[in-house]
Structure formats: structure tokens, C-alpha cells
Symmetry: C2
Subunit: 455 residues, 2 copies
């Protein structure tokens, strides 16, 4: 997948060198020769990834990286530091500034392109979930504010490798509320990873009991482990293994012998992407739920049930079974509110919703249409089924007073119920709903606390 890459270096020949490499692979390259120029360009022509030199006059690469990661608009932009330095302390400083990786000049092509693809894959998925800016702003109000220090707290991790001391070192990255499982057999590791819900998996590529890359591949291929961050432990002398691992979808690598600070910085970065991803998905799911459920009772709302009925009607052919609509209305609900106040009224609505939800079967649907009115949709129902459900609703509520904050500790209410079976395959949901409503009206007129079946 092509993408726009920003190359930042104060030495023009270095810029041109990387530009030529990337351009030959059909990346769209833009360039800057100072930190300030880079930051301006990021706003003007948003790149998908940044290759950033460290040693630059005025603003060095560390500072540029820090500013990119501090701005919410660009915090997710992947940054690879490219440098002549190969001091561990510099790598740690870079990673702690938020850099995603570190490549040493002269840059090996395979390593560069594998890294680009790997980081771009993650970015594309996140971009996809962020939707448009306005939506992203709305969803942000649903996200918890992320504390970077919290990211390694209470984590459940899996270490797969022969060296127990390496496992201990990895486990020590995480705080004491975390839990680490250590295994040496990749088959056993896969089984455990599928059964448990790990926050991060570490795989040593020096594993003797089987092929560690195959384990990574299986973890990526299974739906339940597809999104877990995987970090591989690898000898510095095995760059091709890193490339292969990144191509498989491994998120990052840690060089052996392990440096605590570097390993910790890399784990933090992965944990941070993971959490952001989970929060975005969570916020999306929450907002879809909110759009379709009633805030007070948690039942489906009128909006959802209306659409649901329309799509049922569309998919139902002549051979299909009947759909029953059961309309439920609390009798004299106004009296409850007037006597005990709205809070008690709300308690009653919630408790009745709970009882309705217990009565409906999995494929059926309970909704609150508004006020004290509910609608149950029962698919594939006979007249007897529907009448049975309706009668059970009525009696469940009539026979068991509702616990509420009243002097007596409860409220006695009854409901009236109207039921309409789908008349013919051409009947619209609106017409069927109207018949259920008329049956409900009959039940009210007949003295309430009763079920009436529409003709």
C-alpha cells in the first residue's frame, strides 16, 4: 500500500538518498530540512509516516517527535527515527519521546520497508475508526482520558521463550498488579492465548521447542487474538527475522540482550496504540448502543424497533412464519408519578423493563416506545405463543409488587396488553401496530389488567 512519507533531515544529501529509495518503491515523498519546517508540513500536507533525523540545529529530532506526539491531531502519526547514532541511551530517549522505531544509517532497505508497512497497517486501521473529524470529536467525549503511566498497570501478559531470566526481565517492565504467564512450548502458548485474554504477548525468536514465527502467525490468524500486541525478542545479528516477523503482523521487536528501559518504552508504545484502538471501538459501539437504546431502561428505543419492523417486513416472504406485536401499557401510571414522584415512576419503568427482558426469548425484542408504553416483537409466533407471552407479562406484573422507594417499600401496578398477529404478508408494520394499539385500547376499556387479542 502506497502512502505519503515525510523525510526530515538537515543534510540535503541524506534527504535525497531516502527520497530516492522511497520514491523507487512508489511512496509519495515530501521533505523538510528542519524541525520547524517539518511541523508546518505535517499540518499542511498530512503524511502517513515520518522519517526523522535526530541531530538537527535549533530543534532536534527528539523535540520534533515530542511535539508531534503531544498534539492530539498528530499523536497517532507514526515516527521512525533515522540516525547515525546507535547509542542505547539515544534509542531510549527517542522511544520515550514517542518514536515508534529507530533505524540506523545506512538504512537497510528491507528493514525500512518492512517497518513502513507494519506501522502503516496500524495507522490505516485507526484512521478508519476515527471517521470524520466531527464524529471523532463527539466520540472523544466518551473516551477516558489516557494516562500514559497507567498503561503498564494491571496487565496480563504471556511470555514464550526458553530463558526464564528473560521472562522475569520482561515481567519486571509491568507493575506488580500485572500477571505474567511463562511458557516454552509454542503449541501450549497458542492454546493458552486463545483461552485467556492477554494484553500483550512476547515471543522469543530463539525458541527451541517449535517455530516461533508460526506461533505469531497463528495468533494473528485467530479472531480472538488478532488485535493483541505481539513483541518478538530477537538477536541483533538476525535482522531478517525482524523483517519477517513485521511482515507477519508482529507489532514490535526487542533486541537481545534486553535493555530494560528500551523494552519498557516499546511496550508502552504498543500498549498505548492498543488502548487507543480499544477506546475508539468502545466509543463507537457505545454510541451505536446509545442511538438505539432507551437511556432509562436499557431497552431498545422507538427508533430501533421501527427500523427493525421495517426490515422484518422486507425480508418476510409468503412462506415466513408470523410476527406478533405485543403492546404493553402500565395502568394508571400517572397516579404513580403524582403520588410518589418521578423517581419512583422511573423505578417502576426500570423494574418492568427488567421483567419484560426476562420474558422475551433471544431472537425476540423488547422496546420502550416512550412514556409508559412498551412493544414486544415476537417472530415465528403462533397465536398461542403470542397469547402465552402476553398473559405471562400481565400476570408477572400483577402478581408481584414492584420494589420502590415508597413508604411501603413497593408499588402495585398492573398492565394492559394488546396483541396483533401479522394479518397477511402484505400488511405493513404500521397497520399491524395500529391493530395492536386498538387491542390495547380494548383492554383498557374492558377494565385494564388484561390481554386482548386483535381480531
Amino acid at each position: 500500500m502506497s502512502a505519503r512519507v515525510l523525510v526530515v533531515d538537515d543534510i540535503p544529501v541524506n534527504v535525497r538518498l531516502l527520497e530516492a529509495k522511497l520514491s523507487a518503491e512508489y511512496y509519495d515523498v515530501i521533505t523538510a530540512t528542519s524541525g520547524a519546517e517539518a511541523l508546518a508540513l505535517i499540518k499542511a500536507e498530512p503524511p502517513d509516516i515520518v522519517l526523522l533525523d535526530i541531530m538537527m540545529p535549533e530543534m532536534d529530532g527528539f523535540e520534533v517527535c515530542r511535539r508531534i506526539k503531544a498534539d492530539p491531531a498528530t499523536a497517532l502519526l507514526p515516527v521512525i527515527m533515522v540516525t547515525a547514532l546507535n547509542e542505547q541511551s539515544d534509542r531510549v530517549t527517542g522511544l520515550e519521546a514517542g518514536a515508534d522505531d529507530f533505524l540506523t544509517k545506512p538504512v537497510r532497505d528491507l528493514a525500512l520497508f518492512a517497518r513502513l508497512r507494519s506501522l502503516l497497517r496500524v495507522k490505516m486501521l485507526l484512521d478508519e475508526l476515527r471517521l470524520r473529524e466531527e464524529t471523532s470529536r463527539q466520540m472523544n467525549t466518551l473516551r477516558d482520558v489516557e494516562k500514559r503511566d497507567d498503561l503498564l498497570n494491571g496487565q496480563k501478559i504471556l511470555f514464550v521463550g526458553d530463558q526464564a531470566d528473560e521472562g522475569e526481565l520482561i515481567a519486571s517492565i509491568f507493575d506488580e498488579n500485572s500477571h505474567a504467564d511463562m511458557l516454552t512450548d509454542p503449541g501450549e502458548a497458542l492454546e493458552k492465548a486463545l483461552a485467556e485474554d492477554y494484553d500483550m504477548v512476547f515471543v522469543s525468536l530463539a525458541l527451541s521447542a517449535g517455530d516461533p514465527l508460526r506461533l505469531c502467525s497463528h495468533l494473528r490468524s485467530n479472531v480472538s487474538t488478532r488485535h493483541v500486541p505481539i513483541l518478538v525478542l530477537v538477536e541483533e545479528s538476525e535482522p531478517d527475522q525482524i523483517t519477517k516477523a513485521l511482515e507477519l503482523g508482529v507489532n514490535d521487536y526487542i533486541m537481545q540482550p534486553i535493555n530494560f528501559s528500551e523494552a519498557r518504552a516499546r511496550a508502552l508504545t504498543q500498549s498505548s496504540y492498543r488502548r487507543y484502538h480499544d477506546e475508539l471501538r468502545g466509543a463507537l459501539e457505545k454510541s451505536v448502543d446509545m442511538a438505539f437504546t432507551d437511556g432509562l431502561t436499557g431497552l431498545y428505543n422507538r427508533r430501533y424497533v421501527t427500523r427493525h419492523l421495517a426490515s422484518l417486513a422486507q425480508s418476510q416472504g409468503a412462506e415466513d412464519h408470523e410476527t406478533a406485536l405485543i403492546m404493553v401499557d402500565i395502568d394508571h401510571f400517572k397516579n404513580v408519578n403524582d403520588s410518589y414522584g418521578h423517581d419512583v415512576g422511573d423505578e417502576v419503568l426500570k423494574e418492568i423493563s427488567k421483567r419484560l427482558q426476562l420474558i422475551v426469548r433471544g431472537q425476540d425484542l423488547a422496546s420502550r416506545l416512550g412514556g409508559e408504553e412498551f412493544l414486544i416483537v415476537v417472530t415465528n409466533a403462533t397465536v398461542e405463543n403470542a397469547e402465552g407471552v402476553a398473559e405471562r407479562i400481565r400476570s408477572d406484573i400483577a402478581n408481584e409488587p414492584i420494589t420502590a422507594s415508597t413508604p411501603s417499600g413497593n408499588v402495585e401496578v398492573t398492565v394492559s396488553v394488546g396483541v396483533a398477529m401479522r394479518h397477511s404478508t402484505t400488511e405493513t408494520p404500521d397497520r399491524q401496530l395500529k391493530r395492536a394499539d386498538e387491542a390495547l385500547y380494548e383492554a383498557k376499556r374492558g377494565g385494564r389488567d388484561r390481554v386482548v387479542m386483535a381480531a
Copy 2:
């Protein structure tokens, strides 16, 4: 990125051959030797992609493909047909059955892996948007029912190539309400693609005026054209060009000389993915909007404004400017409902919402708290600003009767307004809201149709 691949072939040696190839590249391979077995396996261990033989006893590959694509649960599962046949009519039958591509045995490794990666990229993005099953079901009620025949109607396409007759042939795939632009220069094509909103772009790889692959790369790198389906036209004798194009993110290819039916089937498939993608994103955005806006007036709802205030408070430091809360309540609104009915009441609420929206500036926010009560949040406000906005709201409503379905054609209403500036950097949104509410109460007590500033 690794993934699970299902290989289906009735001849075991063929299965083993593909399995070995894929497994060596660390794909997770599952296998079936009949159509029925394949369909069962797809349910039991969902693969990410299917490699499907055509000639099989009992159920042939075309039928297996049709069944996969007809089931909503698996319609997005990419299918590559692998066959010894290379008859155009078979290719067309396969593509029309919904297959994503056609590979001829013996399968070239490069072509196979490029195709797998390209199809998996699209699938991963779609999977990401589908969220969990329940959410996906809810969102489906927001989608328009897709008619496959409609997919090539009213499309706006761009053809980039030297051969006008090829362009005409491509244009003829689409119905007469569609529009095709034809260009020969890739630079001009990029500019046009960035300016216009094309539904599909066709690029001939035999372009003489520049590098066609670079054009594809630029289209993929720009945010505004990132998701447009690109199909390249390529000579059958240039398989490496296909591989390269797929790696860049091109969606599909059409062999020259162009066969009308095959080109049409491929365009249909891409159009269908595109539409599904747009619908998913659209449904997500719509549901986020619905979660945060008031259904009647389109203003933000209480849920949103509450969260918005909380996040404002969190981000506001000592140096920040003031936030003003302006609470607006329609005077004697009950009389409107009682005299003219709820429909007229709703008209009044909508019209007042419209006027509020016209008065607030871009970064400010108008919301409906419920009933006839509204809240305006003005950031970076001085007392004078806030009072000015409040007074303008009051006078705008008092001076211009609201058009409504009443005997006189309108309704005269007034509003009372309470304004509270943020007291100190430690004041919570709740407390500030309470002061605005008290000011509103003062305005009501003082005779209505007036603005009161909280102390």
C-alpha cells in the same frame, strides 16, 4: 500480515501443493475437499480468504462461491478461484458468481501473495468497521438495501489512458446516467481526481505520457482519493506489473484487450465493496450523531453538552478564558401545546432551535436540555459578549413571530434567559449550570421575556 486461508480442491495433491506454498509464507491454512465441507468449515473456523477450485463433483466452485456471497454473514469473505481452465467465459461466470479474482494453475507465487495481501487489506478494514455482531446488526437498520444492479448507475468515472477506444469501452460498462472523463496525462489526471469526487478510476499501465504506477501511488497517498477504487488496464504478458500495482493498493486489474463482461463484473465487485464501506462508515457516523443530537431539533442533546462541559472543565487551566452558560426557556410553552396541540409546539421548538443555531458562533454550542429548555455554551467569552448573545436571543424571538400551523399562521412567544460566567477555575460545570438556572428563575420571576446575569 498473516491470515487464515481456506484451500478448497477435490484433488488432495492440489490441496497439499497450495497448503505447502501458503504455509511456507506463514499463512494459517485450513483445507476442504468438497464444496459442502468448505461451507461447513467457513462457519466453524471463519477464514479470512478462500482459494476455491472450480471443477468439483456434486457442488462446483461457482455454486460454492454463489452461496458464500449470498449469505450476509460471509458476503464479504474474499474468494479467489484457482483453476486449470483459462476460458474467458469461465472467468466471467466466476466473477459474476461474486469471486474476487481468478488465478490459473500452476499458480505463480508472486501473483498469489500479492493478491492475498491486496484482498486481505480491504477485508481487515471492513472487519474493523463492523465492530461486534450486535452493533453490526443495529447498524444494518441504517443501511439502504443494496441492489447490485444499481451499482453501475450514475457513476462518475475517470479513465487515464492513450487509447480512446479503450476509454469508450470502459465507459460503456456504466449506464447512461454515468459520466466519464478521459485523460492521457497522469499529472492532469491526479489534479482532476483531487478536485472531483470520482466513484472509480481506471488507469492504463501502457500510458505514454508518464508513470501510471506513480499516479496510482499518488491517488492512494492523498486523503481525498485514498478510498476510490482503482482498476488498472494491463497486458496479459505483464504479470509483474499487476503484482506491483496490487502492492501499491490498486484494487483490481483488467486484461487488455478488454472483455466487456469481465470488465463489468470486476467493476461491479469493486463498486459493491466501495458501497458497503461507505454505508458502514455512514451508518457509524449517523449513529454517533443520533447518540449526541436531539431528534426533533437537530441540536446537541443533554448527554453531549454534559460531557462537553466536563471535558472543557478538564482542559481549562488558570490562564484560560471564561466559559459562559446561557440557559434559555420558552415562556408559557404549556399554553402553546394546550391551545394549538403538540404539532404546533414542535414547530415552535424547531424554529427556535434554528434561530439559536444562527446566533451561536462556530466554536460555540447550542443544545436542547429537554422540553422547552435550551443551553448555549460560549467559550472565551467576556461578560459583555455573553450578555450580548443572550440579549440577541431574547430579542430575536420576541420581535419576530414564529411561523406555525395556527389559524393566524404564526405564534408569538418569548423566552427567559439566565447567564452565568465561570466563577473561578475551580468551579464545576454543575455549579455553574446551577447558577445559570437560578438566573433563569430570576428572569421568570421578574416577568419573563428578559435576560438576567448571575451574580
